[in-house]
């Protein structure tokens, strides 16, 4: 008997906006001029946030911080497609998502300065606290999607993680269950090519991360992660599919970590400066600016205004974060369980 081909897959890569600011009109998602301006402003605000975080850390005013430099489009572009009540399960390098979802900026600074109160998500958002342990939050998104499906509440669920997370067991377990139960969930990988010092090639021998989805019975797509329109379109399409009950999607945003892993890392120990230089020309904000210039949506005055507004928002957030009264030691007790145990009460009394 001849051998048969049981399955073959083709992996799609989506690109809409190139580095020169030119778009593929046929693929361009429907976005108003106001939407595009809003995207630009959120990208700019994210970069201002990031740069200020780095300088605050250098000044000793903040703890270890994971920069998002270069990944703003992957974050803002995907979050731009979300509804306010959708469930978001972020990792630790997703400040652009928080910012696009209108998470209070001062809380983000408060968190990175070492104060858990910064992770208390406001009631009108469903953003899960940042997951430090790589990839372990992927099953949570799966479970939240099971809950959303059971309640028929039409909330989609999105999990964000990096390329390193795709090597973890929880990536497999979470994806597998999502495929089996055809859940309304979108998994967004920011493939920034580096997990601290380990390059993407050493995470997996697979040619793309996107193709991993097919082993779990759902679609995967690679997008140019520095192309905000491609990221937005892929996410929007995946969310429409999720809400229609057509199951999960895996989006690999192909991007680059321009900064060190965190402020505690020195990436010159393991990667070449010329690689970083190469990616500078692919900057996600620069290309949107070039596009807007061509469309007549950008001017030097507009840029100055956006910068000024961003700086003011960041100034205010930093001031507010630093003016917050210090957390009370009893907070660490009262937030462990609903009720203190007898022993915890005693320990609290001894503080």
């Amino acid at each position: 008997m001849p051998e048969k081909i049981l399955n073959s897959i083709n992996i799609t890569r989506l690109e809409i906006l190139d580095a020169t600011g030119t778009v593929d009109e046929a693929l361009m998602p429907r976005l108003s001029d106001a939407d595009i301006r809003k995207m630009f402003e959120l990208l700019t605000l994210s970069r201002f946030f990031d740069q200020r975080a780095l300088s605050l850390q250098r000044e000793g005013r903040m703890g270890t911080y994971a920069s998002i430099l270069g990944q703003e489009a992957a974050q803002v572009g995907s979050a731009f497609a979300l509804e306010r009540k959708d469930w978001v399960f972020p990792s630790f390098r997703e400040m652009g998502v928080h910012i696009a979802m209108n998470y209070p900026l001062h809380l983000l600074y408060q968190y990175w300065a070492g104060d858990e109160r910064g992770l208390r998500t406001p009631e009108d958002l469903n953003i899960f606290p940042i997951c430090i342990s790589v990839g372990t939050h992927i099953p949570h998104a799966t479970g939240a999607a099971m809950a959303a499906k059971y309640r028929r509440d039409n909330h989609a669920v999105v999990a964000y993680f990096g390329d390193g997370a795709t090597s973890k067991g929880d990536f497999h377990e979470g994806f597998n269950m999502a495929g089996v139960f055809k859940l309304p969930v979108v998994y967004i990988c920011q493939n920034n090519q580096w997990a601290i010092s380990v390059p993407r090639e050493q995470q997996t021998a697979a040619a793309t991360l996107a193709q991993k989805a097919y082993a779990y019975g759902f679609d995967g797509i690679q997008v140019d992660g520095n192309d905000i329109f491609a990221v937005y379109k892929a996410t929007k399409d995946a969310l429409v599919k999720a809400r229609a009950g057509e199951g999960p999607t895996f989006i690999e945003c192909f991007t680059y970590r321009m900064a060190h892993h965190t402020t505690a890392d020195d990436s010159t120990r393991y990667r070449q400066e010329k690689e970083v230089e190469l990616w500078k020309s692919k900057d996600p904000i620069l290309r949107l600016k070039l596009f807007m210039q061509k469309r007549g949506l950008w001017s030097a005055e507009y840029q100055a205004e956006v910068d000024k507004k961003s700086k003011a928002l960041i100034d205010e957030a930093v001031q507010r974060a630093e003016a917050a009264p210090p957390p009370k030691p009893e907070d660490m007790f009262t937030s462990t369980q609903e009720q203190l145990t007898m022993r915890q009460q005693k320990q609290l009394g001894e503080l």
């Binding site: 858990e116 208390r120 998500t121 342990s133 939240a144 809950a147 462990t336 022993r343």
Partner: protein
Amino acid sequence: MPKLTMVQALNSALKGEMERDKDIVVLGEDVGKDGGVFRVTEGLLERFGSERVIDTPLSESGIVGAAIGMAVSGLRPVAEIQFMGFIYPAFDQIFTHAARIRSRSRGRYTCPLVVRVPYGIGIKSPELHSESSEAFFCHMPGIKVVVPASPYHAKGLLVAAIRDPDPVIFLEPTRLYRLIKEEVPDDMYTIPLGKARIVQEGDEMTVIAWGSMLHKTVQAVEGFDAEVIDLMTLNPFDAATVLTSVKKTGRVVIVHEAPKTCGFGAELSATIAEDAMLSLKGPILRVTGPDVVVPLPKLEDYYAPSVERIRKALEEIMKY
């Protein structure tokens, strides 16, 4: 009142609670069509449907991880891990997330999750089907650990665990699943978590046990004037009941099947030493499993504390 086994009592708790609250869902390996390998979830699929009684892939970390996601977004999942020896892949989820979500989000998110786990030695099973690793979970702030020792208590404790606002590891001694029958009310009732019970009063020694060791202990104390405590909740444990008893009797024997080193008996001993040392007439004695890998059935009887070993310790403590 019907006489039920522990399996039937647990099933009755799940059924009653699922009738009461549609946010309660059950998930795990073989919990649906098969009714669980021990039949604790028997009949639930037929009654509540596959959206609430979920046969999952073979995926311990995924089961607990997904259950955490459900709990955080408003459901009250009861997850089953088939045997305690298979919970280790889910350790990360329990410790890294279930135990910490309330704290990490400063109260915005909570995790009302029950993880049911058949545990312990005594049913002649393969490797990793006889583990008794309760102490690991007692070392995780934010996690409650509950162990019933009778059908009546199993039902009341499981109902309380399901209604608890925080994560509970609910350990079901497999040896007791069908060993005893007792009267169990049809109605739902709770037995408060964090409280021990005095199984029998006595004046000359305090013997503390839980799970299947409680039954051996009750047999062993025959002829002694012993106060027997069923701890029921290991974390947070009822120190007040333990200390009051120890201060009365002045002698303590702790019985558990888990290995001695860093077993939960160590925590009990330290607490008694800290808070009731001056009432003690002799050393605190522990009768436990040895510090070895849990053996296969041929050597099982050498591992778990026997009635005779417990009696020896009781005789020993009475020398003081």
